[in-house]
Symmetry: C2
Subunit: 276 residues, 2 copies
């Protein structure tokens, strides 16, 4: 969120944040579990939504924020379909510079600013040729099927944001910047669409397994309660209660998941491993 | 929504839109019910949220979109609390030009772009004096109470967006622009916080009353079904079935509502009037 977008975990507030949160350290040494890269985080957020906010430049160079629908090309570039009747549609032909911010709606209530979001900065261009125009059109209609009612109106045209850099913020203390080329080749997380459901299900029905994972695999043999706060293709993040205070740990899957429905198998394997 | 932001009801697509929607005209002449002004719409959207997207200018004049929390002053000016560690927080001291877009999350499923949103354009300034600083601080903390953890950190500062113009889009075919001064003096709708609940309740429990309102007060004596799609301090919007096809009508309350809980009394009066 804007107000705390970029408080770095190693920045000037790190100590204060730690003190505020007061997390207990692990008792046993465990291997760091793999995390999504910032570019993977960015690709995942962009891929799993189709409405964001676009910043363009007005005639006098002022920044103009508007709500925009978008489709996504195979390299993560967003496609817009804008009308010259709309202010952003009049801005782009004059100066294509633009950025798109997309925030992942949080399924978990809490601080409205503690949610994932990503800003893509670059320049919008019309598709390079007829083949790319067709691809862009298909991507937009796939994301927003009702656009079939207006996509062929004469005042509408397709624009592609060529991404030069990105800024991902995962919530308090989780953030990073990446380059366009790095973003273009990163893979969106295939299990993202199932993650909220999986987190809910783990907490509702498998609290004891989560606790055992924290004790046996997460470095907190003294944990007394565990709940899952995030799940992704590489592992799950847990929040813990211990006699020494609250704590956090991350537990990695045996292998990165590739199947959109893979979270079930991944967590079953973790539970087995925790039971030894 | 970006893609169709500004298709005007009287613009080049009006005929096509009419044809697409095919609404039947009223059978009986009825007085036009009062609507919220575009500035009232804008004030209402801004007042009922506290997270939006901010467009600022980077060092080289590119537009930068980011998620931002905001509070609201008595004249509708948004207040931000940003860190110089965040990109937007570094942008504002160099060039204060900015715009904020806020979209009202729709409680009613449907086209993701058919939702209300407003863009405020202007320039961000630090509060003019200590008194305004205190007011701005209070407004921000009221909107985002967890900001108490960082609002006094040295790298954070308060900024007020002095609104020069606004662009409100209420959904397909409902939109308008207003000036900053007009926005500043408009009143947010006091019943907005209850409107989604009221719409749901009317549809769930009072479908027959809605139908009678459409027949007796809305100009559609041949209506066979009615559902409420919007409610505000001045009246309710209905979607109708008739033997001549779908139709829409708006029915005004006897008096504008001033009580946040006034929708119940307002619709009870309409139901009585419809029963004659």
């Amino acid at each position: 969120m804007s107000t705390t977008d970029e408080i770095s975990a190693t920045g000037p507030h790190a100590a204060k944040k730690g003190a505020l949160r007061g997390f207990a350290p692990p008792l046993e040494e465990v291997e760091d579990a793999r995390k999504r890269t910032p570019s993977e985080e960015a690709r995942t957020i962009i891929e799993n939504d189709h409405v964001g906010s676009l910043a363009t430049l007005t005639e006098d160079g002022s920044p103009w924020a508007s709500i925009v629908g978008y489709g996504v090309l195979g390299n993560g570039e967003p496609v817009f379909c804008v009308s010259t009747l709309a202010e952003h549609g009049r801005n782009l032909p004059v100066d294509g510079r633009a950025s798109l911010v997309v925030a992942r709606p949080s399924a978990i209530p809490g601080d409205p600013l503690d949610v994932g979001r990503v800003t893509l900065l670059g320049a919008c261009e019309r598709p390079a040729d007829e083949a790319e125009e067709a691809t862009a059109r298909g991507a937009f209609l796939e994301a927003l099927p009702t656009a079939k009612h207006y996509i062929d109106f004469k005042d509408f045209s397709l624009w592609i944001l060529r991404v030069e850099r990105t800024r991902w913020v995962g919530g308090f203390g989780r953030m990073d910047s990446t380059t366009g080329p790095d973003y273009n080749v990163a893979e969106p997380d295939p299990v993202a669409g199932q993650a909220d459901y999986a987190v809910q299900h783990l907490n509702d029905d498998h609290a004891e397994s989560l606790l055992l994972m924290a004790q046996k695999l997460g470095g907190f043999s003294d944990a007394t309660a565990a709940s899952c706060v995030r799940a992704d293709r590489y592992g799950i993040d847990l929040e813990l209660e211990t006699p020494r205070g609250k704590a956090q740990t991350r537990i990695g899957f045996a292998e990165p998941l590739t199947d959109p429905d893979g979270l079930r198998a991944g967590t079953v394997e973790l539970a087995k491993r925790a039971r030894g």
